[in-house]
């Protein structure tokens, strides 16, 4: 199902910008002053209309990559003035400013005085026309991205509004819409109202990713926010890369693991440039558990085992845990995979017990965890058992009491992360917009995504472009979205909260202990 019709962009140019656009696209001046281009030293100049800026740099100023000999560069203002160094194949230079852009057009020199490629003509242009041209260059990039008008920015999301997951999808939609209403009531972001367009799925069996594709292909959204496309998380991220459309805060437990310096090669396309995840995923939690084991027991004296079902997504968790364990230098690391759905708890216990394992990182289902814990307790073997909360929580209090104090879970986020401000606002959204608290985890995810997106848009300036939003997102360092830990991004970082909380289960009283511990995975906080 396609979202409703595409509306024309109505970004209104000022008169100067309009005149500049004419220069850019035609090589002519509205004032009828002649603009000429020098193609080669000593040759007579030619009229610039033969080689207007647009002919090489494109209508959107993004240049081109497929020219055989020369590569007309991206001349979007934001790209040019971004702090340097700007490295090209034959030269590198500091950031441009207005004066150096003008000089590059007239004299063919970059800000450091290097000559531009001879394919770039040197233009003879009046100061007035240059001023107009520069005025246009500054807004050109916001012209080119769809979903953006002078008064609105349209953000897309992909949610199940019908079918099995309709409750969850609608709960997420309501929260985002409510938050956008609050932001809009306060004047929007840089004078633009936020609009949400939903690519709906769930009314039939069609793959959820189709809703995302159709939404993105409709070319009416500027960027993507949140969204729930189970089974297709990787495709969703790949889609945002393919369309160069930022995606902020998709609802998934499986963000890519990118801070991976531990030798396990990832496929190239695991790296996504345009997707910004809010929370660390399950693989990160597996690593958090391994870090916690090392911190609590000392890696050098501890025998660690990693138990997991052999399923593609979970294998990835096990690999992450193993790689982290190898780096930390445990006394021994044993990885025990079992066929999905056929966990033999007695055999696993016997094997691990025989090798005197101290800590078990358990990555199976809650049911398998309970079987494992019971089998271990039956043989009076009491290892520490650590598991991602997302997988294990349902079963944890069914574990034998003899394991009490030895069962630890990792969570990407806990209610202890709530700030007073975040809690108040979240409650206010529910009260004012009549949203109930069903699917609160999904709602928190949606709210978090909305807050991060709005923060990104605020950090970008009014001359918004997708590239600029990416840069603005990358500048986020310790931004607190209210209900989850502070998020940080950077040029090589796409997961906002790299770490997890460790929570100890009190099996005797059937509750979690009050004290929790945050374990960070990012290098900044790791020594």
């Amino acid at each position: 199902m396609l979202p409703t019709s595409v509306t024309a962009q109505d970004l209104v140019l000022s008169e100067a910008e309009e005149r500049g656009k004419y220069v850019y696209e035609t090589g002519k001046s509205r004032s009828r002053r002649i603009i000429t281009a020098d193609l080669q030293r000593g040759e007579p100049p030619v009229p610039a209309e033969i080689l207007p800026c647009k002919s090489c740099h494109g209508v959107d100023g993004r240049g081109a990559e497929d020219y055989t000999d020369v590569a007309p560069l991206n001349i979007n203002w934001y790209a040019m003035v971004q702090s340097g160094p700007h490295a090209h194949s034959k030269r590198s230079h500091a950031a441009f400013d207005e004066a150096s852009v003008a000089r590059s057009i007239v004299d063919g020199l970059d800000p450091d005085g290097n000559s531009l490629d001879p394919a770039m003509p040197r233009y003879n242009i009046s100061d007035d026309d240059m001023a107009d041209l520069i005025a246009y260059l500054k807004v050109m990039d916001s012209q080119s991205d769809p979903g953006l008008t002078s008064t609105s920015v349209r953000l897309g999301t992909v949610l199940p509004l019908d079918g099995q997951y309709a409750g969850l999808g609608n709960a997420m939609r309501e929260v985002i819409e409510a938050y956008f209403s609050v932001v809009n009531a306060a004047g929007g972001v840089h004078g633009r109202e936020l609009e949400l367009v939903v690519g709906p799925w769930g009314a039939n069996d069609d793959p959820a990713i189709w809703a995302a594709r159709d939404l993105v292909n409709s070319e009416q959204v500027f960027a993507l926010i949140s969204g729930y496309v189970p089974e297709y998380d990787a495709e969703f991220a790949a889609l945002s890369d393919e369309k160069k459309m930022p995606l902020v805060g998709p609802y998934t437990a499986l963000p890519p693991r990118e801070d991976d310096s531990h030798g396990h090669e990832h496929e190239q396309d695991d790296k996504t440039h345009y997707s910004f995840y809010a929370l660390a995923g399950l693989a990160h939690q597996a690593e958090v558990l391994v870090e916690a084991a090392a911190a609590d027991h000392g890696a050098g004296t501890t025998r660690l085992a990693i138990v997991h079902p052999q399923v593609a997504s979970i294998n990835e968790l096990a690999r992450a845990a193993e790689a982290r364990a190898e780096t930390l230098g445990f006394k021994s690391v044993e990885v025990s995979g079992y066929a999905y759905g056929r966990f033999d708890s007695a055999a696993t216990v016997a094997t691990l017990r025989a090798s005197a394992v101290d800590v078990v990182v358990f990555l199976g289902s809650a049911e398998a965890l309970v079987e494992f814990g019971s089998a271990a307790a039956n043989t009076r073997w009491l290892p520490y058992v650590m598991a991602p909360g997302l997988l294990a929580e349902r079963g944890v209090f069914e574990l034998p009491k003899s394991l009490s104090g030895r069962v630890l879970l990792a969570y990407a986020s806990l209610p202890t992360d709530f700030t007073a401000e975040g809690t108040a606002e979240f409650e206010k959204l529910h009260d004012e917009f009549g949203i109930d608290y069903a699917y609160s985890i999904a709602q928190i995810s949606a709210y978090t995504a909305a807050r991060i997106m709005v923060e990104g848009l605020r950090r970008a300036d009014r001359n918004l472009s997708r590239e600029q939003l990416v840069s603005a997102m990358e500048s986020m360092d310790g931004f607190h979205p209210g209900l989850v830990p502070p998020v940080s991004y950077g040029p090589d970082r796409r997961v906002g909260t790299l770490g997890g909380h460790i929570v100890r289960a009190d099996l005797v009283n059937g509750q979690f202990e009050e004290n929790t511990q945050w374990i960070a995975l990012d290098d900044a906080t790791r020594d």
Binding site: L2, D205, D206, R213, N217, V311, I441
Partner: protein, 206 residues
Amino acid sequence: MFKPIQNLLAGSAALALMLCIAAPADIAVAGTTSADKAAAEAKARDYFTNVELIDQDGQRLKFYDDVLKDNIVVISFIFTNCQGACPLMTRNLTMIRDMLPGNVRDEIHFISISLDPVRDTPAAMKEFAQTHDADQESWLWLTGQPDNVNLVTKKLGTYTDELEAHTTMLIAANVRESHWTKIAPNVPPKGVAERLRLLVEDNAAP
């Protein structure tokens, strides 16, 4: 305390356990008597199945009964993000369509099946068809649930994991006569047109 998010991983597990489907059997069955034909049809339906596919207009079709049964078909395999052979192949097919005599063309059902159902939404298929002047009633652009589409391409022997290396083979058939042929990519359009004419003549034969 946070509640676990159930089912979040269920899909991935299901994917991992996705059944491998056997390589296609020999699908050419010769039938002469009407009893043979009925048996052949039952066998063909059984083989190809009535798995659901979706055309470029969002219509849901049973693969055997709605797409193949009693028809003369020419089947090609494409994906809309294809940078290589698909646009060329599709243009060849439109050339073939245009050079067929009217009475032959009216009998032919063109069918293009997606090899990349995850990305090829019905809307994407329609756009591709329109771009190639091939969005018409007698030309089905089929995609669907990835499992369903992959089942069909496996049955036809054209399933691939590597899209860029996909087949440019055409499959042409007079389904009622159980007459199936493969047409190599290097056969010129005129040759393909002739093959199609012969398939149509099958029907006229006594």
